[in-house]
Amino acid sequence: MNTDLSDLQQFTALDPAAEREPSQAEWNRSRQAVERMMNGEEPAQRARVLTSRRFAVGLVAAAAVAVTGVVGVPALFPSTAERAVADWMPTPGSLTGAAVLPQAKACAGGGVGGLNAGAVTPDQVVLADQRGVTTQLIVKQGAALAECLVVDTDRPLASMAMDESRPATAAKPITIETYSSRGEGDDEYSSVVGRIDPAVTGVDVILGDGTVIRTTAKATWWGAWWPGPAAGQVDAFTVRVHTAKGTTDYKPSQLTPGD
């Protein structure tokens, strides 16, 4: 087996952590955390817990739990999610790319999706859904594409790389790329992102209690986020799609890739 990658040596210059060494403070925090967990103090030691983002597809969730055995993640910045949820509103603000350029740069600054923060321009903001202090963004830079939730203008709450290989079609005018929930209790929130065909004029999310959330739909993408666990559960909300021909309701499982 040829495993010689000598011709790729130059690419090690792109390693974002090549020179990274933990600081003394990081060593101390980590050692203290290890001592606490060995003494059985986790998770009781944590003042606040953000659970891992729950998968919306049961099979995937089971696999993830099997791999990680994770029950929770200590939150260093609990107030960020808390403020995001507290300021949420069911109808998003209407935004231009220029209006959310700082958030787009914060999104790209995370490095997810191959975005370059220094080169972000307003026209690269594919979608921006602002509710209170939080903005859901899709930023596209050439082939690089990522979706983020950013609190205020500079605090990324979550991010993921996306791709454009599964567009909606006339036959399937709306899809879901991902839906999930994160957090616990008052901090818990859900989000969804998908693709739409140009025939779609609007998309609403209907929660189990009847709450109607108007989503943001722009170009070929749609998205929204809201407080609560619904997107971490299977088919716990409805997607209402509006076209010139009328309105159709779907369960999320009907809109996921492969369905």
Binding site: S6, D7, G109
Partner: protein
């Protein structure tokens, strides 16, 4: 478990932490913003402590594999199984005094960014994380032959993209283990 056995176990775990914390933090920071890394690393060690009896002798790839699972779960709920994406050093990162070298860096970045996230991850496991093919396959949760095939394809695509953007795609001779100084 006796008190002595428990003390021994704790001491071995402290040693494991001392030996792997830096590598694990770097592994995670290559894939998520630094502000999120400490939480994830903490979760990995919590998982490792709870699964102490499962820890192999060569624990580093095992810990990376756990981290990869945590990242997939933490970064977002991924509807389909996707590769994690790998960050790239910022273009306003370490300054380069030589304009030629800076231009080459831009070419490298452009070629890297043009790759699929799955390819970037395969390449990063070996090039950045310093894993052998066997270790990287364990982290990725695939057979060695499968990983080697993916690596070969990713390497070919990356070089193709780089040669297409650079006028002086000089290929130097160093094995990947030597690059990172690890086995």
């Amino acid at each position: 478990m006796t008190a002595t056995a428990n003390d021994d176990r704790k001491e071995r775990f402290r040693q494991l932490h001392a030996q792997t914390y830096g590598d694990l933090l770097r592994f995670v920071e290559r894939r998520v913003p630094p502000a999120e890394a400490e939480d994830i690393v903490s979760t990995v060690f919590l998982t490792a402590w709870r699964r102490y009896d499962d820890l192999p002798d060569d624990a580093r790839p095992w810990l990376f594999g756990v981290a990869r699972g945590v990242l997939a779960n933490q970064t977002r709920g991924w509807l389909r199984r996707r590769a994690l994406d790998v960050r790239m050093v910022a273009e306003d990162g370490p300054a380069d005094d030589h304009s030629g070298a800076a231009a080459s860096r831009v070419d490298l970045q452009r070629a890297w960014r043009a790759q699929r996230p799955a390819d970037r991850e395969v390449l990063a496991l070996v090039l950045f994380d310093g894993l052998t093919v066997e270790q990287a396959a364990e982290v990725a949760g695939v057979r060695v032959s499968t990983f080697a095939m993916r690596l070969s394809r990713a390497r070919r695509r990356l070089l193709s993209a780089y040669v297409g953007t650079s006028d002086d795609a000089v290929l130097s001779i160093t094995c990947p283990q030597a690059i990172k100084g690890q086995s």
